[in-house]
């Protein structure tokens, strides 16, 4: 049992580590003394009401802000970021899907260079993954909120991220499209072993799909009770590489047993999947 916890908490298994972190000073502190970890291949939610500091926390994780005290360590540079589509800037931008998704390959294409055939081929592959292959030449502004969100997820995925960070993915999306989106994220986490951190205010959906979720309130970040349940499940099942999820389908609170795949699942070109394969 000791070796199980040792391995589960080993540094190799940790994707995000926040230690005694504060942002802002004194009375103006937005976040104070925050401590939490996100393990590799976990699907974690960050919830909280407007102005609670969850967007600040997300920006700290992305490296857009520097903590005033403590540390934020993200153990990967392969981060895929999915912004909100609710903003006019994103949803009304006059570009087609291929052009938008190609921006996700910026690092690979490089400054001053134009995309090549292989990059466009990759766009097709990633659009297929998110079920948007028929929309490649369509304008982003002509699509529904749910479709736009899937395009932005495709843009984040094309750079082969190990960590996917989503900012309020349900904003401006109807319930049905939201459900489809969650199923897609669930697939990316389970089948491709991608670590997902999702900032949202939708507690119901987060509880249904994520491994654990944190509440951001009054400058603090608190683990939700359900995470304890999650840990208990893990202890019972002795799952090391991937924490067991509960209530992953149907939302009834029923605990599902999902064994960790040792074989590379699906397209092994994804780094998360590669990691799984190497173990």
């Amino acid at each position: 049992m000791v070796s199980f916890w040792k391995e589960w908490l080993s540094m190799d298994n940790i994707m995000i580590e926040v230690k005694d972190m504060s942002f802002g000073y004194g009375k103006d502190a937005i976040l104070s003394n925050v401590n939490f970890i996100v393990k590799r291949q976990e699907y974690v939610g960050i919830i909280g009401s407007n102005g609670a500091g969850k967007s600040t926390l997300m920006r700290l994780l992305l490296g857009q802000l520097t903590p005033s005290e403590g540390e934020v360590n993200v153990h990967t540079k392969a981060i895929g970021y999915v912004p909100q589509v609710g903003f006019r800037e994103v949803s009304n931008f006059p570009a087609n899907v291929e052009e938008i998704v190609l921006t996700g390959l910026y690092k690979q294409i490089g400054m001053f260079h134009m995309p090549k055939k292989e990059h466009k081929q990759k766009v097709k592959q990633v659009l297929e993954l998110v079920g948007m292959q028929d929309f490649r030449t369509r304008m982003l502004s002509e699509m529904s909120g749910g479709q736009q969100q899937r395009v932005l997820i495709a843009r984040a995925l094309i750079g082969d991220p190990e960590l996917l960070v989503l900012d309020e993915p349900l904003t401006g999306i109807d319930k049905e499209a939201g459900e489809t989106l969650y199923l897609l994220l669930d697939k990316l986490n389970k089948e491709y072993g991608m670590t997902i951190v999702m900032v949202t205010h939708n507690r119901e959906q987060v509880a249904k799909y994520t491994n654990r979720f944190y509440h951001v309130t009054n400058g603090g970040v608190h683990l939700d009770k359900s995470s304890v349940l999650c840990d208990e499940v893990m202890k019972d099942k002795m799952i090391i590489a991937k924490p067991k999820r509960y209530s992953s389908h149907g939302g009834t609170g029923k605990i599902h047993s999902v064994e960790v795949e040792k074989e590379a699942p699906y397209d092994a070109s994804y780094k998360g999947a590669k990691k799984e394969e190497n173990k």
């Binding site: 992305l62 490296g63 857009q64 981060i79 970021y81 912004p83 006019r88 800037e89 994103v90 931008f93 006059p94 570009a95 087609n96 052009e99 938008i100 190609l102 921006t103 996700g104 910026y106 690092k107 294409i109 400054m111 001053f112 260079h113 134009m114 995309p115 030449t137 369509r138 304008m139 750079g159």
Partner: protein, 264 residues
């Protein structure tokens, strides 16, 4: 019909007009998509203060406009950063300062006609030095736009995402602010300070009604600006109208039906 080209001043007008019709919409695409359409207005009005300063000090008014415009452009950026939730305020503040300064300084200019020519432009009275300046600015703007095409699209679409992906956003924004100020200043002389921003926005607005990609939005914007400039210059020559205003009004006449077509 083409007796218009017999005159050297009209040849120059067409050359300068065509070059400006290429670079103004390129800058326009960036400012429109960054939701900063009014920046062209603020800078062009501020450029008048530079023109007045140039005329008072006895230096080339365009050089004066470029210097004052650059200061104004960076002041807008600085105020935007200080008040991030009210980006538009920065433009209004600088525009007010620019107009106020231009108004006060214009009282000290002896040659009032020279100053007035910058208000509505004088594309038919452009000097050789000004032609050379426009050619140089065109080469720089087109080169920067082509080299940074991908980066500029990324920044205008999703600036935080571009920072995260490693795009040198601050440096590129600096270069674009500089080029916007220079383009507005050189264009103020020919198109008119009061009309530069129209030429920055109207072709882009027309292109956005028809284009089905970012690339086509850029190409169509330039094509529309070329169309307005050429048609506007012909009309102004044969109907004895002011060229700057005719070019802008040609654009508006094309934009209105396009907006209805798009709505259908």
């Amino acid at each position: 019909m083409f007796d218009i080209f017999q005159y050297a001043f009209m040849q120059k007008a067409f050359l300068v007009g065509i070059l400006l019709a290429i670079i103004i919409p390129l800058i326009g695409v960036i400012v429109v998509l960054k939701r900063l359409s009014m920046i062209g207005d603020a800078l062009s009005h501020t450029s008048l203060a530079g023109v007045a300063l140039g005329l008072i000090l006895g230096i080339n008014p365009i050089v004066g406009a470029v210097v004052v415009c650059m200061i104004a452009a960076f002041s807008i950026e600085a105020i935007r950063k200080a008040l991030p939730k009210y980006a538009e305020i920065s433009i209004s503040i600088i525009m007010s300062v620019g107009i106020g300064l231009a108004s006060v300084l214009s009282g000290f200019i002896d040659d009032g006609a020279a100053f007035n020519s910058f208000l509505f432009g004088s594309i038919v009275a452009i000097t050789d030095t000004e032609v050379v300046m426009v050619i140089i600015v065109t080469i720089i703007v087109v080169a920067v736009f082509l080299l940074l095409y991908k980066e500029l699209m990324f920044i205008t679409f999703d600036e935080p995402g571009a920072v995260l992906a490693g795009v040198p956003v601050k440096k590129i924004n600096f270069v674009i602010t500089l080029l916007t100020a220079i383009t507005v200043s050189v264009a103020a002389r020919s198109v008119g300070a009061l009309m530069v921003s129209s030429l920055m926005v109207i072709p882009v607005a027309c292109a956005m009604q028809l284009a089905n990609s970012y690339k086509k939005t850029v190409i169509y914007s330039v094509l529309f600006a070329l169309l307005f400039t050429i048609v506007g210059l012909f009309l102004s020559y044969y109907m004895n109208l002011k060229p700057g205003g005719t070019i802008v009004l040609t654009g508006v006449v094309v934009l209105i039906p396009l907006m209805f077509v798009k709505r259908k």
